[in-house]
Amino acid sequence: MTRTPQFGPGTSVVAENRRRQMDPSHKLVTLRHVTDDDIVLLLGHRAIGARYPSVHPPIIEQQEPACPMRRLVKPTEGARNGDRVRYIQFADSMYNAPCQPYQRTYAEMYRFRAIDPGTLSGRQIVECRERDLEQYCRLLIETEMFDPTLVSLRGATVHGHSLRLCENGMMFDALQRCILTKDGVVQYVKDQIGIPLDRVVEVGKPLDSDWLKEHSTIFHSLVGTALREDKEYIEYLQRIHSLRTKYGFMPTEV
């Protein structure tokens, strides 16, 4: 029996956007380009051009035990080479950012392999092998999951997702990792943990507010789509809440 995943409930545009980001068969629209070196700079884990430090020899050189699961699951490029586990962390504004922490984790779990996401209310961290991380970052920064003003790379001191925006539309950042230039382009002047970069990294122009409202994955009753407008989503949430309250982690429909 073939199964068609639903990805999520809801009839609103927010629900549709969430499904689109989660569906790995859907190709996300690329809105900007960053180079490999730009990604290395933003992450701040290694110097440009430096080799990938490893924590164990390449798998091919190791004596792997005879395990059917290891034969079944092919290692990722980073795991095959014994790369370190490194991270990227995003903070997403509540004001119609194109992605948000829970959505980010769902989407990444559907689209990426060998990741360990950590989901919090205003930020989401994902850990994986360094080589894989740099590949995944490309999708997370270049596509419609990112907006230069409302999504921000923040390894530490992430505060700002729930605050009102600054005058120029940027999300508050106590470390001011990125700035909006007079040309209207957002430039990263610090890496994700707040260390000034040797050169700026441009991540493009802010997206239009109407476009953001149409492509947001966050319900917001004041500036976007209200959750209460999506009856199907409410029904789903109430059902989950009811089952969880009555049956804990072993829900049984009666």
Partner: protein, 151 residues
Amino acid sequence: MRMLGPDTTKRLLDRIVTVPGIRRILLNGQNLPLVVPYGPARGEKNPHSMRKTIKVADSDIDLHVQVGTITLEVEDRTIIEKIRSVSTAFFVDFSCYVQEGRFMKSQPSLVDYAKYGPKADPTMIGLVDPKRKEQPSVIWYSEEQACGWEI
């Protein structure tokens, strides 16, 4: 509503201080640390274009925050309407609202007495820690200076 940059804060304060009858002004907002407070870069310098010294009515004010709320202590209720008209005329690109209420201490509490003693400056109570070395800015604004503004 938006958080204000230093230049906008200065322009707004320039207009607010012209309103006679304001006793104290408290600028509230998100802290802009001098050094990175957390993470692997902890202790590194944190250059931030929003952390500036602005000049309001010939007084220098060091902004340590990105201003989001301005709390004013006024002498009577009629001044609130003047503040409201100044604010609504000032903010044209985005909205603002003016609330009436008691948002700062008007007299020292028992805890203040226990912490700071009987000699604590009552004008500072509820604004800043009286033991803080940095003194608040004092803005003097004369009637002659105020006459140029239409309130």
